[in-house]
């Protein structure tokens, strides 16, 4: 894990066991930035949802990686969850409630779902940077 003064980079196996690990890393990063509690909690939920989507959807019957990166500007924090999987492909047999992306959209100030350089998908989320 690489945590700079204002940045975060972490790559882990895309397993369900690593979902809380990335959430805890996000918490530590945002607490270090002094983010207000409401935004912090929204970001934790959004990152968790994004990571769960990677574990569930990015890799079909193969192992893969999941990445979390964070950066901070004066007025907002950017958190990006990425994978090197099969790209963003909606599943009609999606397990669970299938509401991860709508939840993220409701929680984050902005959301961008884009192709990653690794050929997979990135979910880039921004949150307002308000002091605690």
């Amino acid at each position: 894990m690489n945590v700079g003064a204002l940045g975060l980079e972490l790559t882990v196996a895309a397993t369900s066991e690593n979902v809380p690990l990335l959430r805890h890393a996000t918490r530590a990063y945002l607490e270090d930035l002094g983010i207000d509690e409401a935004t912090l909690n929204d970001a934790l939920l959004a990152v968790t949802e994004a990571c769960s989507n990677v574990v569930r959807h990015a890799y079909q019957d193969t192992e893969g990686k999941m990445t979390l990166s964070g950066s901070a500007a004066d007025n907002h924090v950017s958190l990006v969850v990425g994978d090197g999987g099969r790209g963003f492909t909606p599943r009609i047999d999606s397990p669970g409630l299938g509401i991860g992306i709508p939840l993220i959209s409701a929680l984050a100030e902005s959301v961008e779902i884009r192709a990653s350089a690794a050929g997979g998908t990135e979910v880039a989320m921004t949150f307002p940077r308000r002091a605690a």
Binding site: P20, E37, L45, G96, L97, L103, L107
Partner: protein, 121 residues
Amino acid sequence: MPSEAIQVRREGDVSIVSLTGEHDLSTALDLRHALETAAGGGDCLVVDLSRTEFIDSSILGEIVAAWQGAGASSARFALIIGNGSGTSVRRVLELTDLGSALPIHSDLAGALAACADPAAS
């Protein structure tokens, strides 16, 4: 007890599944198994989130499935969200609008009373 725990216990005809700590996709399957075990054990299923610090949509999905299963088998269902419930517990219900659909009680006494009252929703 570990910081993240799922406990199943019986109180008469009521099966209570209690979640402590943070729960997400990593514990969702364990929760499903616990709910399936509890659902077969009584006339009322109570899911206690009063000491749950965090849930996400994967956990909520298991709870909803248990609620729907209880309805299909004519069993009663109650969800406890209290002062000790984490912010995300209320937040995920708020954003999904399930807070108005699920039978939510603020403590175990309220949930048990609802279990005992066949007319309760």
